[in-house]
């Protein structure tokens, strides 16, 4: 496990699902899920390797959560193949679930119990003996920095504390795979950073983590590899750095929108994109572009910045609002 390696040099090589590679800890091929006539997941293939952080990104309704639920053995697939830890969720759900930890999108802590009670009760569902469960619950409260809230009813916790407690709950059975659906949704920056820190610590211990997120900076920070989904299909797969390089270039030059600038860019045959009231130009060398722009186009405002995963995301999935 190369917990010390940089985020931008993934421990595992850029992946594909081609034969010959080590079989992944999670393997999906031609995976489909339909609700009535609606295809929520429309023939996807992916392979998650042991010890990596694998992300599912995509707009609302892309099929991320549905995919998570199929992996977590709570939603049966319509067709295709899926194996988790070498087993079929349809045939051995209990055996798979015993080795998974799940952080759901919705906070579903048990309001009838305290923080400790939530972990202890949950551990029982995994057939963990009471004495071990109590010890584990104490350790996990410390891990997520909730030791002081041990005997507080969960209703009294802040949003960030609840998410941390859910993370702790997902760890009671020492899972081999951690499945997180929007782990930091609705959290303030402090709470998000704490959550990231915990997830990195878990990865460093050799855990396999599968997550979905809407926060692209989060995906770029955490994921070794990720896929971007839309309309139930996988659009691209790769490490965050590779995806940015391939699909968004190295830098983005943003220019204030005006007809003159657009005309000028068209004359210069520089490819550009419209993003609200800004014109975006993806480039390998912003210096040259900016110089030409300033000399020839008389722009009002020019900003240069490194390209990010967000640029890739918006380029691939479009700017249209999803409800």
């Amino acid at each position: 496990m190369s917990g010390a390696s940089s985020r931008h040099e993934p421990a595992t090589p850029p992946a594909d699902s081609s034969p010959g590679r080590t079989p992944g800890i999670i393997q999906a091929k031609d995976l489909h899920k339909t609700f009535g006539s609606m295809a929520a997941v429309d023939g996807i293939a992916f392979s998650v390797q042991k010890g990596e952080v694998f992300g599912f990104l995509g707009p609302n309704g892309a099929g991320k959560t549905t995919t998570m639920k199929m992996i977590a053995c709570v939603s049966p697939r319509t067709s295709g193949s899926l194996t988790v830890l070498g087993m079929d969720p349809k045939k051995e759900p209990a055996a798979i679930k015993a080795r998974l930890g799940v952080v759901p999108q919705e906070t579903n802590l048990d309001p009838d119990f305290t923080c400790f009670g939530n972990l202890f009760t949950y551990a029982r569902y995994f057939d963990i003996p009471d004495r071990v469960a109590a010890q584990k619950a104490g350790e996990l409260l410390e891990f997520v920095q909730l030791t002081e809230k041990r005997d507080v009813p969960v209703e009294k916790l802040s949003g960030g504390m609840k998410r941390r407690l859910i993370l702790a709950r997902a760890l009671v059975n020492n899972p081999e795979i951690l499945i997180l659906d929007e782990p930091t949704i609705g959290l303030d920056p402090q709470a998000r950073h704490l959550m990231w820190e915990k997830l990195r610590a878990l990865r460093a211990q050799g855990n396999t983590i599968v997550l979905t997120t809407h926060y692209l900076d989060e995906a770029a920070r955490l994921c070794d590899r990720l896929v971007i989904m839309d309309n139930g299909k996988i659009l691209v797969e790769g490490s965050p750095a590779d995806l940015v390089r391939e699909h968004a270039g190295q830098e983005i030059v943003e220019v204030g929108m005006s007809d003159d600038v657009i005309e000028c860019l068209q004359d210069l045959k520089v490819p550009y994109e419209l993003a609200g009231d800004m014109i975006q130009i993806a480039t390998g060398s912003s210096r040259d572009i900016v110089r030409v722009l300033l000399d020839r186009c008389k722009p009002e405002k020019v900003i240069t910045r490194p390209a990010t995963l967000e640029d890739v995301f918006l380029k691939l999935t479009g700017r249209k609002l999803r409800e």
């Binding site: 679930k97 015993a98 048990d110 029982r124």
Partner: protein, 261 residues
């Protein structure tokens, strides 16, 4: 989709769900133990002794002795029914407790089976609290009336199963009022509880026996508390067992259809 009548796979893990509910119940025992106690006393005073002072005998028994088994069975019905309608619905829909549970080795079948067992257990607890009160008033015949305890489990399981079928199909918590008022309330009154079934027109008697599960439970319970068991008890118990098995199976299958998509 699996058929509504196919026998669902249930593991012994269902006990974990039952245990969870028991722990929560036990922690608030002081609120939970009070209602059955008060309910028994209220019925005894208001109906048994209040109305009973005008009615001297029913079927050769003092009126209060006549309604004592009804007090027990109505409690069996209400505790299991309301636990597995409103109680289970809150845990399922508002607390998302079932979602959390099925992320563990528990299956949805285990979860629902655990809820049903818990509903039946609540009925038993109610009867356990009420029996000493009724015994103190001398309106039940011991020791045969102690068989009310296992009967409460069977009857409780039946009403838990019926309740869970409604919970599985209700669009929201408000619509659970329909079975509560259109099914449970009339059943409370027309099942041979506060007056003998034989007072009703014959057609209605058959209707009650066919459609109102409480009728059979009251009949058996009355035989126990009055120490007058007849072979007809076997028919009543057979009816109750058949309906219990059927409703519990359908309830689990309906819940699976609702929650596993």
């Amino acid at each position: 989709m699996t058929g509504m009548f196919s026998i669902p796979p249930i593991s012994r893990r269902a006990i974990k769900v039952w245990h969870r509910n028991l722990v929560v119940f036990a922690r608030t025992w002081h609120v939970n133990f009070f209602p059955p106690l008060v309910e028994a006393l209220l019925y005894l005073f208001a109906i048994g002794m209040g109305i009973g002072s005008y009615i001297h005998e029913v079927e050769g028994q003092p009126y209060v002795t006549f309604i004592a088994p009804a007090i027990l069975t109505i409690a069996v019905m209400n505790s299991a029914f309301f636990e597995c309608t409103y109680g289970s619905y809150v845990r399922m829909y508002y607390q998302k407790a079932f979602d959390a549970m099925i992320a563990t080795p528990l299956s949805i079948e285990d979860v629902i089976a655990g809820e049903l067992l818990w509903g039946a257990t609540r009925s038993v607890i109610y009867v356990l609290i009420m029996l000493p009160v009724l015994a103190a008033f001398g309106v039940i015949s011991l020791p045969l009336a102690l068989l009310a305890i296992p009967l409460a489990f069977l009857g409780g399981l039946m009403f838990a199963g019926i309740a869970m079928c409604f919970t599985a199909v209700t669009p929201g918590i408000d619509t659970l009022n329909y079975p509560a008022f259109l099914f449970i309330t009339p059943m409370t009154l027309f099942s041979g509880t506060f007056f003998p079934l034989t007072i009703l027109p014959v057609a209605l008697q058959y209707l009650a026996l066919a459609l109102l599960p409480l009728t059979h439970l009251v009949a058996v319970m009355r035989m126990l508390t009055q120490a007058a068991v007849t072979p007809v008890a076997i028919l009543h118990l057979a009816w109750i067992t058949a309906v219990t098995v059927l409703c519990c199976i359908v309830a689990i299958n309906l819940m699976r259809r609702r929650l596993i998509v």
